[in-house]
Amino acid sequence: MSNSLLTRRGLLKTSAVAGAGLALPTIFTSGAAAFTNEPMGGTVTLGFNVPQSGAYADEGADELRAYELAVEHLNGEGDGGMLNTFSSKVLEGNGILGKKVQYVTGDTQTKSDAARASAKSMIEKDGAVMITGGSSSGVAIAVQGLCQEAGVIFMAGLTHSNDTTGKDKKANGFRHFFNAYMSAAALAPVLKNLYGTDRTAYHLTADYSWGWTQEESIAAATEAMGWKTAEKVRTPLGAGDFSSYIAPVLNSGADVLVLNHYGGDMVNSLTNAVQFGLRDKQVNGKNFEIVVPLYSRLMARGAGKNVAGIHGSTNWHWSLQDDASKAFVKSFGTKYGFPPSQAAHTVYCQTLLYADAVARGGSFNPCAVAEALEGFEFDGLGNGKTLYRAEDHQCFKDVLVVRGKENPESEFDLLEVVEVTPAAQVTYDADHPMFAGGALGDCNPGA
């Protein structure tokens, strides 16, 4: 080792060999791929990245059920579900573009880091051409960024933050679920009718992207109708016990508690609030009220009797009586024995919408898919007429305002729909200040 002589000729020789060695692999590379993970054989792989542990594990489990159902329906098994009611008819039940749909799953653990690692391995190892899922906006934004870099499509699952299609929007990312602004726009008139215009609200907020934007949206909408905001308190995600946050509410002079929590957190904070007897209190001569802006049946079940009479908004509910919702509830119920949650509904729709966009665009290329989805108007997926807006890749559709039932008939019949807010009322400009500060950028096909 110590006596190796470096001559000019020797150096030239070695560099020539090294150069050839470096150039060699390019000869063998599968350079034919026009975009990341172009499906070559008779199958196409989708990546379902959902929380299987952590605060949103219930939602994740339900999402996974819906994904499996969607894959069945795309491959022509089962009863076809919402494929039969979907306004676009290009999907024939023979997979996507004739390729059988396969899937891989991963656990996001409701942590950005873990979610990105899991999505990365789906893209790099399993060759997933589309990633979907996420039950937390923090995770959805992180994974959406990754998909943009890697050049695959991201179909967001349960993410309600304004930022997902606002300041953190990406050209490769699409969201079917509604957002915090829409919740606020739908809830505010209902709250005004119920509780009047002279109220003081106290916010308890999950301390991350979703909580921040929901708090901002609700506060703005309620203040616009005359309410005051007493205090905005941030709580860590997955805090478990919220007693210490509930106690100060009573002395704050507020008469409405807004819980910007979701999943297990909402179950715990609402239970704590009810146990503290907040709902039996009289403040400023008015009944103390609790509002949960983002509601889901899974949470209602967790919180049990405590949800009775509490208002909130939701993307979809299984008791809707349109054909599409009935078809979906029927095929989900047949397979699993209970009705689907809104999380299950949105991810089922996203899978179908992706498959449909591929079929209409005639390619799995993310840019072709994005083009097919942008400005796409559809119906028959349970939310009425819906538009995938091109400017920010957000779906615009009706929003449901719901209330916890006083006398539920079964463990699933916990919410009743109070009002269906039409899409026009929750639509905002693409450059609305709450959504400003980001740019879609260009679609990235990778490779």
């Binding site: 299987q52 860590p236 260009d442």
Partner: protein
């Protein structure tokens, strides 16, 4: 060579070769062979193995040599990541300044934490470091949100200044690179029905890991390393001899903190995102498990342990029930469901159970870790070879004789 004795030089050479050929070694199963589920040769996993290898080697400098068990090393990892991402946001997407700053910042933090924590030893030291790490974690979530972006995690944005890179004309985020060579670019070679991915990011991590490993070998063999070992053996005796051990332990603590910062910086260089979860106590526990699983106090052990844990985490967690069903579809229906149910507890989200069992078995039967396992296999092989030679030329001394016992 390079100031190493012959044995260490060969050892280092083996490590270099292993690193060079990792993309091939970790891709042992052909596509469609049914076992390709177990292939680990994709960039993300290979990078993680190299990076956590560095983390564990650094941890081992403190724990393996001085015996000080730090339960807060994830704090340095997290701080390193944040520092690196800030460098990407403000200065340049080149990874070199990011990694340097990551090491500097984590080193400074290590001086502060080490200066206070090293006043105590044993369990008190562990608790102090744990407390500091949890404080860092909580701070990242609350007070420091403007710097850390809280739960959402620190990410790049199009509007970041990046003063050295010039203006970004394209509408997509720039990628991390080393003097223009993008970290996420890779050569794919198809051969033998396998796809081998040679990734720039992995080789960068690999080279840094080899450097880190080399420095660790030199440390282990140096008088300084000897001093650290003496601290582990009997610190009191050293103090009675009038020797102040504090500077030595603090130096070891800072070096190992900088290793962790380096690992954190590399994590951010491979994927420019930093979240507070990296500082959680479970992350600190993970590196302890890596080191003990591989073999604390040995050179190769921590790297082995890091490899095994990252492999389990990434491969076993991907085996979901539908994969299991496809493996056992040949069994009769009822039996298939039973077998799948049992296996599903240990794979998918249950991979922690597999890790726990492995850890228990190793700690119970191989207290020296996986390295002791290989050593035992070696000596077993040697013993199996020896009797053969013995049969041709038996020695009287080999005969067990009760009379030879000392009376």
């Amino acid at each position: 060579m390079l100031g190493l004795n012959k044995k260490d030089a060969t050892f280092l050479l083996i490590v270099v070769l292993l690193t060079l050929f990792t993309p091939i070694i970790m891709q042992p199963f052909a596509a469609n062979s049914g076992l390709d589920q177990f292939n680990g040769g994709y960039p993300d996993l290979m990078q993680k193995v190299a990076i956590f290898g560095i983390f564990a080697v650094g941890f081992n400098i403190l724990f393996g040599l001085t015996g000080y068990l730090s339960f807060g090393h994830a704090a340095f990892l997290g701080v390193g990541s944040y520092a690196a991402v800030w460098m990407f946001k403000l200065l340049t997407m080149n990874v070199i300044p990011a990694i340097l700053l990551a090491m500097v910042v984590s080193g400074l933090l290590a001086v502060v934490i080490g200066f206070i924590s090293l006043r105590r030893s044993g369990i008190y030291f562990s608790i102090l470091t744990l407390a500091f790490a949890q404080m860092c974690y909580k701070l990242a979530y609350s007070v420091l949100t403007p710097i850390t972006n809280g739960e959402t995690g620190l990410q790049l944005a199009l509007s970041d200044p990046r003063i050295l890179d010039g203006t970004n004309e394209s509408a997509s985020l720039p990628v991390t690179n080393i003097f223009g060579l993008a970290m996420n670019s890779s050569y794919k070679v198809e051969a033998l029905n396998r796809v081998f991915t040679f990734n720039v990011g992995f080789y960068f991590c690999g080279i840094v890991a080899i450097l880190a490993f080399y420095i660790a070998i030199r440390l282990f063999r140096s008088p300084f390393g000897m001093m650290l070992r003496a601290v582990k053996t009997n610190q009191q005796r050293m103090n009675y001899m009038g020797l102040n051990t504090r500077p030595y332990t603090l130096a070891a603590f800072v070096i190992s903190g900088m290793y962790a910062g380096l690992a954190g910086g590399l994590l951010a260089a491979m994927d420019p995102l930093a979240g507070a979860d990296r500082m959680l106590w479970t992350a600190s526990g993970e590196v302890v498990i890596m080191t003990i699983l591989g073999g604390a106090g040995t050179l190769m052990g921590p790297v082995l342990g890091a490899g095994v844990i990252k492999y389990l985490e990434n491969i076993f967690s991907k085996i979901n029930e539908s994969v299991l069903h496809s493996w056992f579809h040949w069994l009769p229906d009822g039996l298939e469901h039973a077998v799948v149910w049992v296996f599903a507890r240990f794979t998918g989200e249950g991979w922690h159970l597999t890790l726990g069992l492995t850890f228990m078995l190793v700690v119970t039967f191989l207290p020296g870790g996986l390295v002791e396992g290989t050593r035992r296999i070696k000596s077993l092989m040697a013993r199996l070879r020896r009797p053969k030679a013995g049969r041709t030329e038996p020695k009287a001394d080999d005969q067990p004789s009760p009379f030879k016992k000392p009376l």
